[in-house]
C-alpha cells in the first residue's frame, strides 16, 4: 500500500473562500484607494502644513472678517478675519496627533490588561474585570472631562484623558478573544503534543488573541479624534486661538446665521477624516474575519 490517497473531494467551502481572497487581493477597490489617498494627504499636511502654501492660521485681519468663500479666501474668513482654509489645514495636526497618542495610550495599557485577565486564574480575572467595570462605569467623555477638570486643559492631558477612557474597550475585547482562543481545539492539542505551557500560550494563544488589535486600534483612532474634538468644543480641550476643529466649530456656531462657512468646513474636515479612518477599519475587519473564522 504505497499508493497515494485518492483525493477525496476537497471541501467546497474552504476552496471557495480561498478563491475569493485571491480575487479580492487582485481586484482594484476604488473606495479603499480613495480612503488611502485621503489619509496619505492628511498625514502630509500633519507633518508639513506649510507645503500647501496657505496663509498663517493665526493672522487676524479684522477688516476682512466674516468674508464668504472667494478666490482670495477659498473657504472664507472667520470673525477675526483669519483664513478658514489655513485654519482647517493646520487643525489636522491637532486632531491626528492627539488621536494617535491617545490610542497608543489605550493600547499600551489595555492590551496587556486584557491578555492578563484572559490568561489569569479566575480570581485575578475577577479583580481585573471589576476594575474595568468601574472604569467603564463613567461614560467615556465624562471620564475625560473629570480628568481634564483637575489636570487642566492642554494636549498632554487631553491625550491622557482620552487614552485612559479607551482602556476598558481594548482590554475587554482582548480578554474575550483570549478566552475564546484558549478553548480552541488546537490549544488542547498543543498540550497533548507535550508542549510546555508557555510555548502553547506564545505560539497558539497570543497571536490569535491580538489579531484584532489593529482593527480595534483603527476604530479607537476614529473615536479618539471625535472625543478630542468634543472636548475642545466644550472648552476642555485646546484653548481657542489654536485652530482645533472642535474649537473652531464652537466659535463658529455663534455666527451660523451670518457665516455658515466658519463651522461647516471644519465640521466637514472632521467628518471626512473620521469616515476615512472608520472605512479603513471596516475593511481591515472584513479581511480579518474572512481569513480567520474563529
Amino acid at each position: 500500500m504505497t499508493a497515494v490517497a485518492p483525493d477525496d473531494r476537497p471541501n467546497g467551502v474552504g476552496q471557495r473562500r480561498v478563491g475569493q481572497l485571491r480575487v479580492g487581493q487582485l481586484r482594484v477597490d476604488p473606495v479603499l484607494i480613495a480612503t488611502a489617498a485621503g489619509l496619505a494627504l492628511t498625514l502630509l499636511i500633519v507633518v508639513w502644513p506649510g507645503a500647501t502654501g496657505v496663509a498663517d492660521p493665526l493672522a487676524a485681519d479684522p477688516s476682512r472678517a466674516l468674508e464668504p468663500p472667494s478666490a482670495a479666501h477659498l473657504l472664507g474668513t472667520d470673525q477675526l478675519g483669519r483664513d478658514v482654509l489655513a485654519r482647517v489645514i493646520h487643525g489636522a495636526r491637532y486632531s491626528v496627533l492627539i488621536a494617535l497618542a491617545a490610542t497608543a495610550v489605550g493600547i499600551v495599557a489595555g492590551v496587556p490588561l486584557g491578555l492578563l485577565a484572559g490568561l489569569a486564574s479566575s480570581w485575578l480575572d475577577e479583580i481585573l474585570t471589576r476594575f474595568l467595570d468601574i472604569l467603564s462605569a463613567f461614560p467615556g467623555l465624562l471620564l475625560a472631562m473629570v480628568l481634564i477638570a483637575f489636570t487642566g486643559p492642554g494636549s498632554g492631558n487631553l491625550v491622557l484623558a482620552l487614552g485612559v477612557s479607551s482602556v476598558p474597550r481594548f482590554a475587554r475585547v482582548v480578554r474575550a478573544q483570549t478566552k475564546v482562543v484558549r478553548g480552541q481545539g488546537w490549544v488542547e492539542h498543543g498540550v497533548t503534543l507535550g508542549l510546555p505551557r508557555r510555548v502553547v500560550v506564545a505560539r497558539h494563544v497570543l497571536p490569535h488573541a491580538i489579531a484584532a488589535v489593529p482593527v480595534l486600534a483603527t476604530v479607537g483612532l476614529g473615536g479618539a479624534t471625535l472625543g478630542a474634538a468634543a472636548l475642545s468644543f466644550i472648552g476642555l480641550g485646546l484653548a481657542p486661538p489654536s485652530p482645533e476643529w472642535g474649537a473652531m466649530l464652537s466659535e463658529g456656531r455663534n455666527y451660523l446665521r451670518v457665516a455658515w462657512w466658519i463651522s461647516v468646513f471644519p465640521g466637514l474636515a472632521l467628518t471626512s477624516l473620521v469616515l476615512a479612518i472608520f472605512t479603513l477599519g471596516r475593511r481591515a475587519q472584513r479581511r480579518l474575519e474572512s481569513r480567520e473564522p474563529l
Binding site: R130, A149, A230, L256
Partner: protein, 319 residues
C-alpha cells in the same frame, strides 16, 4: 435533569440578580473611591475657591477650611463622605452653596426626558432600518454607508447641522431652550442619530447571522413570509449582542447630553457637570460621577435581565 432545568428557569434569574446587586454596590463604591481620591489629589486650591470674592487671609482660610471639613486628614474626609452618602447626602456644592442632591435633582427631569426620548427614537430607527435592509445587498450597502457617516460625525456637529437646517433655514423648531415637545425633537434626534450609527450595523449583522441559521430555513419551509421570519425569529436572536452594546450607549448618553445640552442651550445634568468641572466644584462633580455610575450599573443590570428573558438558554450559563 430536565426537572432541574425547569426549576432553573425560575431560580436562575434570582441568583443572577443577587450577584448583580453585589457587583452594583461594588462598582458604585469603586467609582466613588476612585473619583474622590483623583479629585482631591489633583492640584487646585479648594479653599481659595470657597472664599470666592472674600479676603484671602490665613484667618479666613482656617475658618473656611474648618467649616467645610477640609482641615481634616483626607481619609477622614473620605470616611465622612461615604457615611453621608449612605444617608443619601451628596454634600454641599462649593460654588452654589446648596446641597448637591438639590442641584442635580432640579435638572434631572430635563436630562431624563432627553435620554428617554433619544433611546426610544434610536431603538425605533435601528430596528426599522435593519429589518428592512438586512440580507439585501444593495440596501445594506446604502444603509451601511449612511450609518458609517453617522458614526463618523460628532454629536455637536450633527446638532449644529440640524439647527442650521431646521431652525434657521426652515423655522420648524426652536433654537434653544426646553419646555414644550418641539424643543425636544432636535436634541433627542441628535443623540439618537449617533447611537443609530453604532447600533444598526451590529443589529443588522446579528439579523443576517440569524437568517443564515438552519432554523431560518425551517421557518421558511413552513410557508412563513420573509418579514415574518425577520420579525418573529430574527430580531430576537439579533437583539442579544445589540442589547449589550445598547447598554453602553445608554450609559454614554450622559456624556452625549453634556454636548447636546450645550449645543441646544438646554438645562440639564450636562450643564451642571460642565459648570461644576470648570469651577472645580468637587462635591457636584462627585455627585454627577456617582449618578453616571449608577445609571451605568442599573442599565447593565436591566440589559442582563432582558437578555435572560430573550434567551433563556443563558440562565444556566450565567454562573
Amino acid at each position: 435533569m430536565i426537572r432541574g432545568l425547569a426549576a432553573e428557569a425560575i431560580l436562575g434569574p434570582v441568583v443572577s440578580v443577587s450577584r448583580r446587586l453585589g457587583s452594583l454596590v461594588l462598582v458604585l463604591w469603586g467609582t466613588v473611591t476612585l473619583t474622590f481620591f483623583a479629585v482631591h489629589a489633583a492640584p487646585g486650591d479648594i479653599v481659595r475657591l470657597l472664599i470666592g470674592q472674600g479676603h484671602d487671609t490665613p484667618e479666613v482660610r482656617a475658618v473656611i477650611a474648618a467649616e467645610w471639613g477640609l482641615d481634616r486628614p483626607l481619609l477622614v474626609q473620605y470616611a465622612g463622605y461615604l457615611g453621608r452618602l449612605l444617608h443619601g447626602d451628596l454634600g454641599t456644592s462649593y460654588v452654589l452653596k446648596r446641597p448637591v442632591t438639590e442641584v442635580i435633582g432640579a435638572q434631572l427631569a430635563s436630562t431624563v426626558e432627553l435620554a428617554v426620548t433619544a433611546t426610544a427614537l434610536a431603538a425605533l430607527l435601528t430596528i426599522l432600518i435593519t429589518t428592512l435592509t438586512a440580507g439585501r445587498r444593495l440596501l445594506t450597502r446604502l444603509a451601511g454607508a449612511g450609518e458609517l457617516l453617522l458614526a463618523s460625525t460628532p454629536e455637536f456637529w450633527v446638532g449644529i447641522l440640524l439647527l442650521f437646517v431646521f431652525s434657521f433655514t426652515l423655522p420648524w423648531f426652536p433654537v434653544a431652550g426646553a419646555g414644550d415637545l418641539s424643543a425636544l425633537v432636535l436634541p433627542s434626534l441628535t443623540l439618537a442619530l449617533g447611537a443609530v450609527g453604532g447600533l444598526a450595523p451590529v443589529l443588522r449583522d446579528g439579523l443576517e447571522r440569524a437568517l443564515e441559521q438552519p432554523f431560518a430555513l425551517t421557518v421558511r419551509s413552513r410557508g412563513v413570509s420573509d418579514l415574518g421570519l425577520r420579525v418573529r425569529h430574527g430580531l430576537r436572536h439579533a437583539s442579544i449582542p445589540t442589547l449589550n452594546l445598547a447598554g453602553f450607549a445608554v450609559g454614554n448618553l450622559l456624556g452625549g447630553a453634556v454636548i447636546v445640552e450645550q449645543v441646544f442651550g438646554r438645562p440639564g445634568i450636562g450643564q451642571v457637570a460642565l459648570r461644576a468641572i470648570s469651577s472645580k466644584d468637587i462635591p457636584t462633580i462627585l455627585g454627577v460621577a456617582l449618578l453616571a455610575a449608577f445609571v451605568f450599573v442599573v442599565v447593565s443590570t436591566v440589559v442582563d435581565l432582558l437578555s435572560l428573558v430573550i434567551d433563556p438558554r443563558l440562565v444556566g450559563a450565567a454562573s
